[in-house]
Symmetry: C3
C-alpha cells in the first residue's frame, strides 16, 4: 500500500510544530499532541518519497553520533537507516574503544565527538534513574558547547531508549496502529491493554510499558495497564498517563487482572518487565558493587516471575479481545512459548499469526527517527519536503 | 593498463543476463556462462569508469548489510569498497553487539536489518552444511518480507563465502586470468591445477578449491584437481565440475599426484584445505559441544597434514609448469615457507616472484562484487553504465 | 566569530606548497614552514565554507582507512569528521577482526585494504621506535602497489600519532594559538612553556611534547622545555628543535625548573609523559614478553612520578605566567586534581577557567586533518576551494 505524500503534507500544514525546531526529543510527554502528529506525518512524507524513489538526502555531509550502552540490533539499524536516509553518516561512540574511562568528563566527551555532528542518538536503559539523566547531561554539554562558540552547530538528541521512555519505539507502535485503524482519529475510544507477561529472563526494561501508557493516553483511548502485584512501573509516569487520559477524553485503569485488560481490547501489548522498585534496588547494588546482593536479587526476581506463568498471551486469552482479533503488538524480540523458551510471553501460534503486522510495526521506526531529526533541524519542513518532491532526485539511479 | 569501457559494453550487449535481475548470487554454477561473463564485463566497465574519474554512484542512499561469521580483512574491505563505489553505506551486523542470541529467529533479524537495505553480503564458511543454508534462509526471509509488504525493497545476496563456494573470490581469480591471458576465449584448452598444499594450520575452508573447480570447469579448460588421499572435497561439487567440463569441451581429472597436476599447467592454485569428511565430523562435534572430541580431531588433522609436507609449491615444482612460468594463484594470505611458517604452501622465492600478479588478482574482487550488485539491481545495466559515462560526474572533484 | 575565507585564500596564494601534493604527512619537520602555513590556511578555508553551509565534498566516493593501534575517541572522531567533510567514508581496519595475525605481511595488508582508499590515517604511539617505522612501512607498501599498477590511486598518510610526533594534534594546537593571538606573525617572540606535569598514571606518550617543541620552534618563539631530571625526550627531536629555533629567530632552552619555564610564558602546556629511556626499556621488555620486568618497571615509574607531585599547573603557578593569563593548552584528557584524580597535572579551577579555549583548541583538529588530505590530493587546492565557494552547494539542504 503506497503511502500518501499529499495527505501527510496537508495534515502537516495544519499542525503547530514550531517548538520542535532546535529541540531534543527526550520523552513523548514533553511534546504537544500536535507535535507528535507532526512526527507521524513527516515520517509518512519521507516514506512516500522513498517509495517513489525520490532522494531525501537533506545533508550533504555531517555525522549522526550513536551511543549504545547496551546491545542492540533493531534500534542500531533503525538509527543507521534514518541517518542514511537523510544523508548523515553514523559514527558510533563505542565506549570500549574510547578514552572515556581515563577520567574524561561527559561534557568533554560530548563536545569532542560533536564538532561535525547534527544528531545524537543515545540508548541507555539499564539503570533506573540514570539513562534519562545521562541524556540530559549530554544535551546540556553540547548546548554549552554551542552557546560558547565551540560547536558550529548543535546536534539534537533522539532518545533511542532511556529508563523512562522509549519514544522511537512507541511512536512507531502508534504509527502502526494509526495505519491499521485508518487514522489517528479512529483510535479514539479504542481500548489498548498494556499488560505484563511472563518471561524466563529478568530485568527487562520498563521503558516500553511506560512509553506505551505515556503515549497512548494522549489519543482518547481506554488504556488498561495490568500486571501482577509487585510489578509497578514508575509513579511519575502513571501520574502523567492519568492526567493525559482525562485531557484526551480517554480512560485509564490499572488492574492486576490480565483477562480484565484483554477483555474487548482492540490492541494488546503483552510484554515482560521488571518491577520498578527491584530495578531501583539493582541500580543501588550495582553502584555499590555488591555482586552477592545482585545475584540474590536475580534469584528472587526469577522466582517472583515464575509465580506468574499464567500471564501469557495464549490463544484462549486472544479470544477475549475484540472479536477475538485484537491487534497484537510487541517491540521484539518476544519470548515465544515453544520457540525461544519453554514458557514465555506469547503462544507460538498467536505470534505466527501476527508476524506480518509485527514486522510492519517495526518498519515505522527508521522513519519516525528520521522525522524527529527533520523536525529538530528544519524550521520549515513542509517546504523542505515539497522541494525534495519537486527536485525529484533519484534515490536509485534511473530506477 | 587502462581498462576498455567500450569493449566491456560491446561484450555485455551480446550477453543474456536478464535472469540475474532481482536474483541472489549463491554459487557460480547457479548461473549460465553468459551471466558469469556479464559479471566480468560489468566489473570491467565499472573499473574503466573509475579509472577515468567518473562517479559510479548509482545509489544516493541505501545500506549494504554485511554479516561476517568469521574474521575477515580482504573480503570485508572488498565489500565495503564495492558498496562505497555504488553509493551504498555498509552497516555491519556484528552478532556480538546484537540481540540475536535472545531467542530471535533469523527471519526476524533478516527483516529487522533490511528496511533500507539494497544488498546483503554474508560470509559463513566455518561449518559444513551450514553456511549455504544460512544464506538461503536469510534470502527466504527477506523474500518473505518483500512479498508480504514489509520491506519496500528486496535486498539481494552476494555470497561472500559459504561452505560450498566462494564466488566473489573465484570470479576475481578468473577475471585476473582472463586479463593475463588476454580474453576468456584464450583460456580454452589451457590447463589449471587446483592442488592441495601443506599448511601447519588446519581446518582451512573447502570453498576455494570447490569454487575453483566449479568455475574453471565452465571455460573449456583442463581442470586438474590433486590432493593427498583423504582430502576429498564435496562429492556434489565434483559432479558439477565433471558435468560442466564435458559441456564446455574441457577435461576434468582428480589425482593424488601434485607433480602430475603441475605438469605443463598454465595456471596453478596450490592451497591447503581440510578434508570434507573431517569438517563434517567437526561440525557434528561442535553441535554436540564435544570439546574433547574437537581437540582430538585437531590433533589428528594436524598430524595427517604433516604426512604431506612434500605437497608444496617449490621452485622445483614450478619448473614442471608450462615453460616453468605457470601463473601462480592464491586467495591470500598464503602460508609461505620461511616467512610466515617453517614449512608451508609455497616457497618464499616463488611467492615473491608472483607478488604483483597476486595483488592484481585480489584487486578484481571489489569490482566483481559491485558488478554482482549492479546486475541484481538494474534491469538494463548497459544503459545505466552508458548514462554514467555520458553524465561524467567527477569521482574526485575537478581531478 | 566567523572564519575569513578570502583571507585564507589570499594567504594560500602566496605560499609554496607544491611539494605536499602526493606526499605523506609523517612529521611536521619534514615540511617547510610555508607548507605548514598552507595547512592552517586550507583548514581555515574549509572551516569558513562549512560555516557558510557550503559543501566541501570533493570526493564523490572513496575510502579513508583508519588504523588505531590504541584506544582513541577524539582522534577517531576527528579523522571520521575530516573524511566525512570531504566525502570519504571511513573504513576502520580493526586488527582484531582481521587476518593479519595469520602470517600476512604488512605489504600485503596495506595493498589489500587500499584498492579504493584515498587516505590512510594511522595511530601507533605505544612502542618507542615502532610507530613511525610502521607508518613508513605502510606507505612504502602502498607506494609499491601504486608503482606496480596494483593500486589505481595511491592513498596518502595522515599520521594520527606515532612515537615521535603527533602532527594533527600540535598543528591544531598551533592553529588555536594563531587564532587566539591574531595571526601566526604575532607568535614571534612569544614564550611557550612545554612542561612535564605529574600524573598518577604512567607511560603517557612522548609524541605531544616532542611534537610541540618540534613545531613551535618553527615560529620564532621562545620555547622552554622543562621536566624533572630523568624525563628526557628523544635526543633527535631536541636537535631538530634547537636547529629550528635558531633558524626561525627564536630561543630554545631545556631546564628542570617548572617555575622558570612558566615565568612570563604566553602559552603553557603542562602535561605528563614517560621518560624516553624507560619507554625504550619497556618496548624491549614487551618484545621479550618479560611480564615480570614490565610490572617492575611500572612500579618504578609510578614511584619516580610520585617524587614530582609538585610539577602541577596550580593557581600559584599560573600567576607566574604573562600577566597571570598565559594561554593554557592541553591535548585532553587531562588529569585534573580533585576531579579525575587526587593529585594530577592541573588544578580544577585552572582547568575550568580554560574550558572554552581548550575545547576550541580541539575543534581545529578535524579541519587540520582535512587540510592535510586536500593538500596531498590536489595540485591546485586554491582553485578547488574557490570553485567549491562559487558552486555553493548546500551542506544542509536550503538552510
Amino acid at each position: 500500500m503506497a503511502t500518501d505524500f499529499n495527505k501527510a503534507i496537508e495534515a502537516l500544514k495544519k499542525l503547530n510544530f514550531k517548538n520542535m525546531y532546535r529541540k531534543d526529543f527526550f520523552l513523548t510527554w514533553d511534546h504537544t499532541i500536535e507535535e507528535l502528529k507532526s512526527v507521524w506525518n513527516v515520517a509518512d512524507a519521507l516514506r512516500a518519497l522513498r517509495e517513489q524513489n525520490i532522494s531525501t538526502k537533506v545533508f550533504d555531509s555531517g555525522l549522526g553520533i550513536s551511543i549504545f550502552r547496551d546491545n542492540s540490533t533493531r534500534t542500531r539499524f533503525s538509527f543507521a537507516s534514518a541517518c542514511n536516509l537523510l544523508g548523515l553518516e553514523v559514527q558510533d561512540l563505542d565506549e570500549k574503544k574510547s578514552q572515556i574511562a581515563h577520567g574524561e568528563t561527559l561534557r568533554e566527551t560530548a563536545n569532542m565527538v560533536s564538532f561535525m555532528a547534527d544528531v545524537i542518538g543515545i540508548r541507555d536503559d539499564m539503570y533506573i534513574g540514570k539513562g534519562h539523566t545521562y541524556q540530559k547531561d549530554f544535551c546540556d554539554s553540547v548546548e554549552y558547547g554551542y552557546e560558547h562558540g565551540i560547536l558550529e552547530q548543535r546536534p539534537y538528541l533522539v532518545n533511542l531508549q532511556c529508563d523512562i521512555d522509549h519514544p522511537t519505539q512507541v511512536m512507531a507502535d502508534a504509527a502502526h496502529c494509526i495505519r491499521e485503524f485508518g487514522g489517528v482519529e479512529n483510535l479514539k475510544g479504542k481500548k489498548i491493554a498494556m499488560t505484563w507477561a511472563y518471561s524466563p529472563s529478568y530485568g527487562k526494561p520498563l521503558s516500553v510499558p511506560q512509553g506505551v501508557v505515556g503515549l497512548f493516553s494522549r489519543l482518547g483511548m481506554e488504556v488498561s495497564l495490568a500486571y501482577p502485584e509487585g510489578y509497578e512501573i514508575m509513579d511519575d509516569v502513571v501520574e502523567v498517563a492519568k492526567k493525559q487520559t482525562s485531557e484526551s477524553g480517554g480512560k485509564f485503569s490499572i488492574s492486576h487482572d490480565m483477562k480484565e485488560a484483554f477483555k474487548d481490547a482492540d490492541i494488546i501489548y503483552p510484554k515482560s518487565w521488571a518491577p520498578f522498585k527491584a530495578m531501583e534496588k539493582r541500580t543501588d547494588l550495582y553502584s555499590k558493587g555488591d555482586q552477592e546482593g545482585i545475584d540474590k536479587l536475580e534469584k528472587e526476581l526469577l522466582s517472583q516471575n515464575a509465580n506468574h506463568k499464567d500471564w501469557a498471551c495464549t490463544e484462549d486469552m486472544m479470544k477475549l479481545t475484540k472479536g477475538g482479533k485484537g491487534l497484537y503488538l510487541h517491540c521484539l524480540p518476544a519470548d515465544i512459548t515453544g520457540l525461544s523458551c519453554k514458557e514465555g510471553e506469547v503462544d507460538k501460534s498467536v505470534f505466527d499469526r501476527y508476524l506480518d503486522p509485527l514486522y510492519k510495526q517495526a518498519s515505522f521506526k527508521p522513519y519516525v527517527i528520521a522525522a524527529m531529526i527533520m523536525l529538530a533541524q528544519f524550521e520549515n519542513p513542509v517546504k523542505i519536503l515539497e522541494d525534495l518532491k519537486s527536485k525529484k532526485s533519484d534515490r536509485v539511479f534511473e530506477r
